[in-house]
Amino acid sequence: MISKNSFLGRFFQEFARNRTATLAALVVLVIAVLAIFAPLVAPQDPYDLANLVLRDARRPPGYVGTTGMLHVLGTDSQGRDLLSAILYGLRISLQMGLLAGTIAFSVGAVVGTSAAYLGGRFEAIIMRVIDLQLSFPAILLAFVIAAMLGQGAWQLIMALVFAQYAYFARTAHGAASAERHKDYVEAALSTPLSARRVVLRHILPNSLPPLIVVATVQVASAIALEATLSFLGVGLPPTEPSLGMLIANGFQYLLSGRYWISIYPGVALIILIVSINLVGDQVRDQLNPRLKR
């Protein structure tokens, strides 16, 4: 149980006061649950080729297939149930976003904190590289790297991490170097306490709030990036259709008026991203002491 007076307790209380953010958090939760249990929830396994009937391809929402199944959101170009494909797609998109976000978070935190801790030449060079990298748009970096590495889940995650770690590194560096030069850390470093302990106990915990704020933004943007890359054909292989690929597959049918194949996966993607951003905005407002008065 979370006590009402603990930091987390107060955090959730304050969070609950913002209705929009609470609703958004709920939506994220529902989507996460649906995505995790997609095999149980989805009307059809969209990857089981035995399920696909070509005659049922590109049917509008509400169509009842030859097997008697109702396709609430219609079917795609291969006769897949679109709702099922979206649920599976959400699963992949969330997975990619979270994995890339977590790895970028860890890499960035380590790079930024150690740069601030070690200082000197090392710090100067690392931060210069990161600044340089930040001046390039993430999409371009991810795009080039994804293209170099070729298709595949891990290649894509690498590309996303490379495009995003710099944001975490910069944030961690900022927070850590502010902390590093505070008197108490200088004092702790001059005692027999091991440097590792100082970093773990003092520097890192103080860098966490800004990093968490960056993380919410970056997970959402990783999901959007992944979708964009897959849409451009440099992301996941066609065997793992994320939302971006579903949208790309439907693109060619858009001009002939079969809008649903592209539009519904897009709506799912937007609901997910907007919800995460709304949650992130609230978390940022709560963790940012400058906005509190």
Binding site: L132, S135, F136, P137, I139, L140, F143, V144, I145, A147, M148, G150, A220, A224, A227, T228, F231, L232, G233, V234, G244, I247, F251, L254, L255, G257, Y259, S262, I263, G266, L269, I270, I273, V274, N277, L278, D281
Partner: protein, 323 residues
């Protein structure tokens, strides 16, 4: 001032040099272009001949120096796929992207900054809240999907605007431009809107945050106490004071919009640089990839340089400090 310019140019040179190494090595890691260039059933002789022709048998560092030496003369080699000089190929595609990007960024700024200033000036009003809602949407929704919705709505359903292509072009300084003809403008409208939405959202946010902060300062109070009208206060004081961060973002966004054009150009089949780079990556056309990335790096460095110069123009305090 001169010292400052020289220092910045020196830094820019180093950045370009570092980029050239990175780009060259990076691109070299992508696939094997020989498979693309030569049909699998070609004889060994033809294979060897083609490899020698493109210098692919040389060691990597040698290839780099050849590449770098040529690059200084503006020569990026022949495109594997198009069979023409890369420089020429890129220059032929550049105007399409340039006009699209400029339209998008300038349009987003011209509309976004006043809206953002209004939202900051009357931040409690319902209109301000609607503006902010729009900007959150513009931030969150992936631009490729907006492109699809735009096509679906305005091209497919309403049939008002074309779904792709550049339309009619007219020549100016020997270059073909779409914005000079009515048909070209019609073709440009949807992709430009698509490209602009994200910048639009960003300009709104920045202008709003800046305006809110500046409105509380004594400078504004003093101007009001002198009887300046709200309009004059906003245009002469607030706009001037928020201009510096806006110019930075404008510059950076100009660069990132060039990159984002990849997505928009793909959706609207706009024959610009973005479309070219996508095609080159899928066909492993190395010289084009290298040249494109170097061009983007160069543009970024140039933009940053001009942003710094603009700072000095906008802020008299910097003018003296750096003179």
């Amino acid at each position: 001032m001169l010292g400052f310019i020289i220092q910045r140019l020196w830094q820019a040179g180093i950045v370009i040099l570092a980029m050239s190494v990175l780009v060259f090595c990076g691109v070299f890691a992508v696939g094997n272009p020989i498979d693309v260039l030569i049909s699998p059933d070609a004889t060994q002789d033809i294979r060897a001949q083609v490899i020698a022709q493109y210098g692919l048998d040389q060691p990597l560092w040698r290839q780099y120096f050849t590449f770098f030496g040529r690059m200084l003369h503006g020569d990026f080699g022949q495109s594997f796929v198009y069979n023409m000089p890369v420089t020429q190929l890129i220059l032929s595609r550049l105007p399409a992207t340039l006009e699209l990007v400029l339209f998008a960024v300038v349009g987003a700024s011209l509309i976004g900054i006043p809206l953002g200033m209004y939202a900051g000036y009357r931040h409690e009003s319902p209109a301000a809240k609607i503006i902010m809602g729009l900007s959150i949407l513009g931030f969150s929704v992936p631009s490729f999907w907006i492109g699809l919705v735009l096509i679906m709505t305005f091209a497919v359903q309403l049939g008002w605007l074309p779904a792709g292509g550049r339309g009619e072009t007219a020549s100016l300084f020997g270059i073909q431009w779409s914005f000079l003809t009515g048909d070209g403008l019609k073709h440009m409208l949807l992709p430009a809107i698509n490209l602009a939405l994200f910048k639009f959202a960003m300009m709104i946010r920045l202008a709003r945050a800046g305006t809110r902060e500046i409105m509380l300062t004594d400078t504004i109070k003093f101007a009001r106490a002198a009887g300046l009208s709200e309009g004059t206060v906003l245009v002469r004081h607030v706009l001037r004071l928020i201009a510096i961060p806006l110019v930075t973002i404008f510059g950076l966004e100009l660069g990132s919009t060039l990159a984002f054009a990849v997505v928009t150009e793909t959706i609207f089949s706009w024959p610009g640089l973005g479309k070219l780079i996508i095609d080159s990556i899928t066909s492993l056309d190395r010289p084009v990839m290298v040249a494109y990335l170097m061009l983007v790096a160069l543009l970024f460095v140039l933009i940053n340089f001009f942003v710094d110069l603009t700072y000095a123009l906008l802020d008299p305090r910097l003018r003296r400090a750096r003179a």
